[in-house]
Amino acid sequence: MELVNIFLKAAFIENLVLAYFLGMCSFLAVSKTVKTAFGLGLAVIFVLGITMPINWLINEYLLSETGPLGFDFSFLRFILFIAVIASMVQLVEMVIEKVSPSLYNSLGIFLPLITVNCAILGGSLFMVAREYNFGESVAFGLGGGFGWFLAIIAIAAIREKIRYSNVPPALRGLGMAFILTGLMGIAFMSLLGIDPAAFK
């Protein structure tokens, strides 16, 4: 029950994009159509779901003082986490390039940039800060990925609809996407509770 709770909380209430504003670049750049957004969303679920448990194991058994090495290596956390994420993304890139070249082309530079998608590193750092155990970290990774997936599908659908609306010409496309994300963020703030100190 606790795991379901963590999954739902990560997906809906503490949504990585709309509540914490992590992983914004690919969120805005790849949300032009629902189809590409779907592909990127799945890739992010996969990467978050895999890297979170791996990083949990690394943090627990290599970096912490209570692990087998018996020394506090936490200063290596950033580099090791990023290396795990980079290798996973490299794997995803090779798979997508083989399986679906059209998706590979439409994602373009934003496929390798999943590596530096702050949602993924941010998720791993949240996991350390909140002291999750192994099962919880899996639930949090999948939930966070699912929340990211839902958010990018939502904004892609809104952007597809708004193409037929009477938006000022210069604001079409990217400008409107920024403002829409801001409005969605305000909606999510009501779930977190509006506390400026929590954001600073």
């Binding site: 504003f21 750049a29 390798p112 940039l113 530096v116 000022p168 210069a170 400008g175």
Partner: protein
């Protein structure tokens, strides 16, 4: 036979700083801005810009990291195997960020303590890796270096502009935390315009707390994009 060796083939030399090179620096400032056109580096633009001082420090750091990581990646570009290129790029970036962190710690410890989290965030700033992937992996070192500087500056320009708006309307001050701190408007006698004074013309004014939240940066950048594309309609992509 000796004549042959004394007459080397005349190689067409590329100018060190010609028109193309100048364009590499000026383009990201306007028509190819990393934030408003390429959509790179948004996360940090939301996180840091509630105050001007961190924005300036981060911009300088990003210019440095972007320029030198482009240079080094470009030097190594023919030697990096494709299958591990991301890890190599990230190692280069992480090393440079660590150098920045140490330099800042040495020169100004108070600023370092205030900014230590944000400096770490430069590693995951997509603008650095984005330019490595898009430019430095396919171009010569000197041009990549200039491209890095240009994009860092273009990023810094937007960052500081957003921060000026957010700090002025959110906190009523400018450059808070630095030696040049200016307190413009607020409800005490420290500020230039004291809204709490008797008979003040600005008694209706209060600071806008929305500006302190990251959401405000989304709206401000959206408005910047609007202005930029209204002035240059060619930039609009209807998708």
């Amino acid at each position: 036979m000796a004549e042959v060796t004394t007459a080397p083939a005349i190689k067409e030399k590329e100018p060190l700083f010609g028109k193309k090179e100048k364009k590499l620096i000026t383009d990201p400032l306007t028509d190819n801005n990393p934030i408003t056109i390429q959509v790179l580096g948004i996360c940090s633009a939301l996180a840091v810009t509630s105050l001007v001082l961190p924005s300036v420090v981060i911009s300088v750091a990003v210019v440095f990291v972007c320029a030198f990581s482009s240079l080094f990646t470009s030097l190594l570009r023919t030697r990096i195997p494709k299958s591990i290129r991301m890890i190599v790029q990230l190692v280069i970036i992480a090393t440079l960020v660590t150098i920045v962190e140490m330099v800042l710690k040495y020169f100004s410890y108070p600023v370092y303590r205030q900014l230590t989290i944000y400096i770490g965030l430069i590693i995951t700033n997509c603008i650095v890796m984005g330019r490595l992937e898009a430019f430095a992996m396919a171009n010569k070192p000197w041009r990549s270096f200039l491209d890095g500087i240009g994009n860092g500056l273009g990023y810094g320009l937007i960052l500081v502009a957003v921060a000026l708006v957010r700090e002025l309307f959110g906190k009523g001050s400018l450059f808070a935390g630095s030696a040049a701190e200016m307190k413009i408007i607020g409800a005490s006698s420290d500020y230039w315009i004291n809204t709490a004074a008797d008979g003040s013309w600005f008694s209706w004014y209060s600071n806008n707390n929305l500006m302190v939240l990251p959401v405000a940066a989304m709206f401000i950048i959206g408005i910047f994009i609007w202005i930029q594309r209204a002035r240059n309609p060619e930039l609009v992509d209807i998708s």
